[in-house]
Symmetry: C2
Subunit: 517 residues, 2 copies
């Protein structure tokens, strides 16, 4: 005779982090917590939109058609100084853990634990970073063990839905499967960071590719053979999962992480011709159409929120995972696609890290407002927990690098944020060619930004308020600022035990910035 009875449902392939405290169940179906939609675009640059994030409208704002981003910005708050990492996996792991890349050590994009994805470099090697990505358990080599955001939200009663590109963990590690990270639903996410094809007629696969290249998009078999673009298929599936959560009376965390606008650039014929007619070359027209397809997805989701009369109960956050690609594969002149920002994806310059960002929190954000204080990707983690009413969470290791920007959304000024240093750490070799694309670490404090290059120990110093394009390196003119910031950067990296490249000739790790040891 059982003393008490527990009901267990069929488990499937789920696993999540657990806590020292007894598990807390949702209190009921009349849940007053807000729904949260996190919309993360891939490789979208700061200017790849008709929403102006610069102080003035730019030619790019006129090129791209993103009416739904405009709609979101008009009803929410846009951020003009929002940052991600310089490539995709580090951003995604920071978003999911609240940790800075220097601390979580997933500093480059991931695919397989070994060999890691670094391109060969003339003078440096790149050992020791977490090429396995994020892992919900300990014990898996070259991974960071942390409690993922959806696991926390799920534990608190949210229905957690993953859509699109996952790219959190390498092939053959637990983190490759979003279901292992606390997502209840996984639509098309796995280890890879790009789709083999965006076309349903290709089965989202690349028949020419080697069978062992894991780029085929999983789980969308029902669209195979159809004339449908991947962005659209993902959106339709996301809407089904959203509807199911609403039917079930569960608050939902809908993570929409489009594969778009990552390479391969492909033709979304719904939007392509307009851009050709406007004079863009084939590649740039494909890119622009992928942007507009992404924006259409955002619109469909906003529409569905309205259809369910949930606008007042649903928070929408929008950003991108790194700067717009500008080094290769794009049309036009390389390294100009994010102007007025310099360079693009993979670069330490603003073009590689500054992102479009919009947040609409009903009853909190003022419609059509703008925030100019800097935020960085790991800030989303504590912000989203605060939105969900979750207090007292402790990340594994006891530290969170992220700082909630909920106050900013309330229209407050955050004095601490004015003085807070921001850090980027990319001790890796991406492979693209362009300004600032190199193994580096970076600190921003106030308007000043210092970049340290591992290959030659060189510094660059910019004043972003006066020189957003990073044309004028002031490292020699302002040595006192350079040296102070170099020391602060070095101390931080030592403090978090950041990995650095190894000099091939000496076999020794390269010096931390500022001579800090």
């Amino acid at each position: 005779m059982p003393i008490r009875t527990l009901l267990w449902l069929a488990i499937g392939s789920l696993a999540m982090a657990a806590y020292g405290a007894p598990a807390q169940a949702a209190e009921g179906t009349n849940d007053s917590r807000p729904n949260i939609v996190m919309f993360l675009v891939d490789d979208m640059g700061w200017q790849d939109t008709s929403v102006p994030f610069h102080t003035e409208e730019t030619p790019f704002n006129r090129r791209y058609h993103t009416p739904n981003m405009q709609r979101l910005a008009k009803s929410g708050m846009k951020f003009t100084q929002a940052y991600s990492c310089t490539v995709c996996t580090p951003t995604r792991v920071s978003l999911m853990t609240g940790l800075n890349a220097a601390r979580h050590r997933v500093t480059n994009w991931t695919l397989r634990v070994e060999p890691a994805t670094d391109r060969e470099h003339d003078t440096l090697r790149f050992p020791g970073w977490n090429s396995g990505g994020l892992c919900p358990t300990s014990g898996v080599k070259r991974t960071v063990h942390a409690t993922p955001l959806p696991a926390v939200l799920r534990q608190a009663g949210y229905r957690t839905i993953h859509t699109g590109k996952a790219h959190f963990g390498a092939v053959d590690t637990p983190g490759a499967d979003p279901l292992n990270l606390g997502f209840d639903v996984n639509i098309a996410g796995h280890a890879a960071g790009a789709p083999a094809s965006y076309l349903g007629t290709d089965n989202f696969s690349n028949k020419r590719s080697n069978k062992n290249r894991p780029w085929d998009v999983p789980g969308l078999e029902k669209y195979h053979g159809q004339d449908i673009f991947l962005t659209e298929a993902l959106t339709r599936e996301a809407l089904v999962a959203m509807d199911q959560a609403i039917d079930d009376g569960k608050p939902f965390f809908l993570y929409v992480a489009h594969y778009a606008v990552h390479t391969p650039l492909m033709k979304d014929s719904r939007f392509y011709q307009t851009y050709r007619d406007a004079g863009l070359d084939h590649k740039e027209a494909m890119y622009s159409a992928m942007i507009e397809g992404m924006d259409k997805s955002l619109g469909d989701i906003l529409d569905n929120i309205e259809r369910h009369d949930l606008s007042d109960e649903t928070i929408v956050l929008f950003t991108s995972d790194n700067g717009g690609l500008s080094a290769h594969a794009r049309g036009g002149e390389p390294n100009t696609h994010n102007r007025p920002l310099a360079s693009g994806k993979g670069s330490a310059y603003e073009g590689g890290i500054r992102e479009p960002m919009i947040v609409r929190w009903p009853g909190v954000t003022k419609a059509g407002s703008t925030c100019t204080q800097p935020v960085i990707i790991e800030d989303f983690f504590p912000t989203i927990l605060e939105m969900a009413g979750i207090e007292g969470f402790q990340q594994i290791g006891g530290v969170l690098d992220g700082r909630s920007f909920a106050g900013l959304l309330h229209g407050e000024h955050d004095d601490v944020r004015d003085e807070r240093p921001l850090f980027w750490h990319y001790p890796n070799h991406w492979g693209g060619t362009g300004p600032g694309i190199a193994p580096s670490s970076t600190i921003r404090r106030g308007d000043w930004k210092l970049i340290y290059y591992y290959a030659d120990g060189r510094y660059e110093l910019f004043n972003l308020a006066e020189d957003i394009g990073e044309y004028h390196d002031l490292a020699d003119e302002r040595p006192e600022i350079r040296d102070r910031m170099a020391k602060e950067l070095g101390r931080y990296l030592v403090d978090v035990d950041a990995t650095v490249p190894v000099d091939k000739s000496s076999g020794e790790p390269v010096a931390y910035p500022g001579g800090v040891r």
Copy 2:
């Protein structure tokens, strides 16, 4: 303003399986569920005790001194036909998952995912088994993804304590750390299946060993340099953890999995001399003293239960993970140490798989009773869930091979069990030398037992009721029974998609028994 508040405790390195249903918390501290102590000895044979498990007292029963096993048997039920697998990891994974080894595919002992631990064989290779062991998540190659027993108990409110040898998952996989499997506390468990040393004066380490051999016992630094045997140190820590659970008002699942009596045989000077004085050689005296040290640990735990006046609320289960080692490292005549059973650890014969087993369930088991119906290691999983009052659990994949023996403990006869076939599957090469030690699969139904050897396709058939020592192979005399059982064995292996060895010369998998395809 948070809408509701959740309390999160510091997480440490915990992760556990989660379920489709909202998590259920313990109902309170006045918990009426029983405590459960699972005492699993390593490499202990059926005769390595003063408790007689044979129909008559044997010379071995007179050799070994296990007064606390006698005490447990006197107050509970002993099982004379209890089975484990032929080596350690398969047994541990079956215990933790309720799955037969043929299904979970962790068929041999584990250490590293690659290379697997199989010894070189003249004619066979052993690909495809889960050399990574048990894993609480999907996505880790060569592991079985299942919900571990402690995760289920923990979810239901139990304090789950791991003591001693874990050996569930390979180095660099999540399953290596018991904290990833749902244990709240881990005392000295990791990937390895043996200690580098049993001596505190050795720091439980082997200074001569290569640094990369992961045998050093972790987490017992406070005993380093002390004159203490590993079994004693583990027991002291287990008592502390038990006391803490009692203080916290939590029902506890205390898993005490001693490294003893696995090799290296070492001298526990508290008990050694008595056995020398009785005429045993050095190795056998060390072995016997290790048995008695294990028994002393059992006694300490029973004493602590009594000290807390919890005897009526605490279930104790006792068994071993495979037959007693007899092929090498022991003193005396090889392959005689489990007589009247043939052979020992690693063998398909009874000496390799039949175990001492005792269960005391206060208010349920009749004091001093004996059960002669067969039980097998995967039966513990559903039995323990039933003891904890957990109903409706679904293992990943939807299947449990284990059958609860709670009815037997209630004194009932289980008619189904009389007709139920038992299966062992060892398509591996252990490396020891002795009768029945070879890549094989085995079925027992009623009194009949059929062994199939992969290297030569040979069968052996024994009637255990008439020939417990497996001296008389009846395969040629009773071809109708041989063929019927061979087919049943083959069908089961095909049904669970069991892996089989590959013939080196042909490169093809060896045939399943009974010609089943």
